[in-house]
Amino acid sequence: MDLGDLLHSIFNFENYGELLVLVQNSIWAGAVLGLLGGIMGTFVMKRDLAFAVHGISELSFAGAAFALLIGADIILGSLAGSVLAALVLGVMGVRARDKNSIIGVIMPFGLGLGILFLSLYEGRAANKFGLLTGQIVSVGTVQLQVLAVAAVVVMLALAAIWRPLTFASVDPDVATARGVPVRALALGFMVLLGISVALSIQIVGALLVLALLITPAAAAMRVTSSPRLVVTLSIVFAMTATVGGILLALGGRLPISPYVTTLSFLIYVACRMIGSARARRGLNGRVVRSAGAVA
């Protein structure tokens, strides 16, 4: 394959209009997941759960692989796997150090199980690969509806616990003193995270969930500290990555995940550069008064 062929298989915009109509559902699905991932990601970062997301996604993958093997619903399988993992982490990993070691234990176990189930599976190979790297072309109307409803439910639940969860995430000691149920909120959030991971896996695959649930929020936090702006930017970044990635991937015959993750990565790099340029100039919002006026 020469360079021309390579480029052609990466970027190919022949018959683009017709293709666009065919993958409408996929684009909507990407938009929904971008919205969900962008919002959830801000809490994942605040609660320092990036590594946990990875652990949950491996177990989610194992669940999906098991469902595939026994001919059950794959979405249900990945949901069961990720919510279970999330609950285990929520119950056992109260302290940060515990949490990381538990994730380190769970993650290879989940991945191993998943590979076992996939090896036992004798169906189409594309089904196997899709669980790891994501599949977008085959989003049916029913699947889209299920996805949208689940995402709306998760977002409503998150909205309901938004303020106390923020308090508990960034300032747990004072939140406890105020009577905020820090423990219960942590568990509740883990369940929501488990569901979000399972939903995201449908599109970007188990290996690349981080690109949806972490990178956009991490990028947003490089350029602003305003809580509202962080959420807004994180959503914009995540949706740009998913929808943009799908649109770019459309003509080629490659999975969408490299497109999504590359866009996501580029946004992060840009934000990092903006952030450090600003830090170099010492702009952090402090009102600087003339030397004499400073107390």
Binding site: M45, F167, D173, V174, G179, V180, T224, G285
Partner: protein, 271 residues
Amino acid sequence: MTPVVSLRGASLAFGQRTLWEGLDLDINPGEFFAVLGPNGSGKTTFLKVLLGLQELSTGTAVLDGHPVERGSRRIGYVPQQKSFDPDTPLRARDLVALGVDGHRWGIRLGSAKVNRKVDELLELVGATDYAKVPVGQLSGGEQQRLRVAQALATDPKVLLCDEPLLSLDLQHQQGVSALINRQCRDADSAVVFVTHEINPIMDYVDRVLYLAGGKFRVGTPAEVMTTEVLSDLYDSRVEVIQANGRLIVVGLPDAATHHHLDAHSVAGEVG
């Protein structure tokens, strides 16, 4: 006057080890009450009892007429200074806003009212200039001012302070303790101030609870911070020296010494 904090026959023990027992104590509104003692004497645990995070082994604890409960809006809590991650998506004013309505469910609608309250609180503690700076980029002293603002947001009956001056320089120690004292005098909140070092708050303290060696003593600083009382508590000869209105404690047993060495150096700088 009805006491805000009331302990009766309170004791606390972990297994064989008794931290303190038979403690009867009333703290009144507008009283500045300091809890002193060496590491491991149960100062912080005392605070945890009032926060409802630690159950007494025996006895009762009543706060504002109710048995203590796990967390309460009647309490303002000023924690030890701890550094925030520089990336924490939270500006100074957002931290204070959490104190105003962070315990409520849902998303903050109608933010104008909250913003007004936050502005007021920032003004009160002199933090207006850095209202929009990310908390991770503030100095320890600035953060502790915000902590006070945050704790005052609900106009609490009791202000519980857990070593709020630790790791602050002298100037900020004075600034922050003056703020806490103002709330005590002007708004009639009771202040329970846990510290290993009485000098920065010497001018404000009404009464002291000194915990050491499984024993305790309650009284005014003049009654408690004496050579006789401390020697009795520590079961060894401890000398209390007055110099320039500061107290210097000499001869503490090894286990308790290292913190009080700070006392020497602070006193040294001032005197």
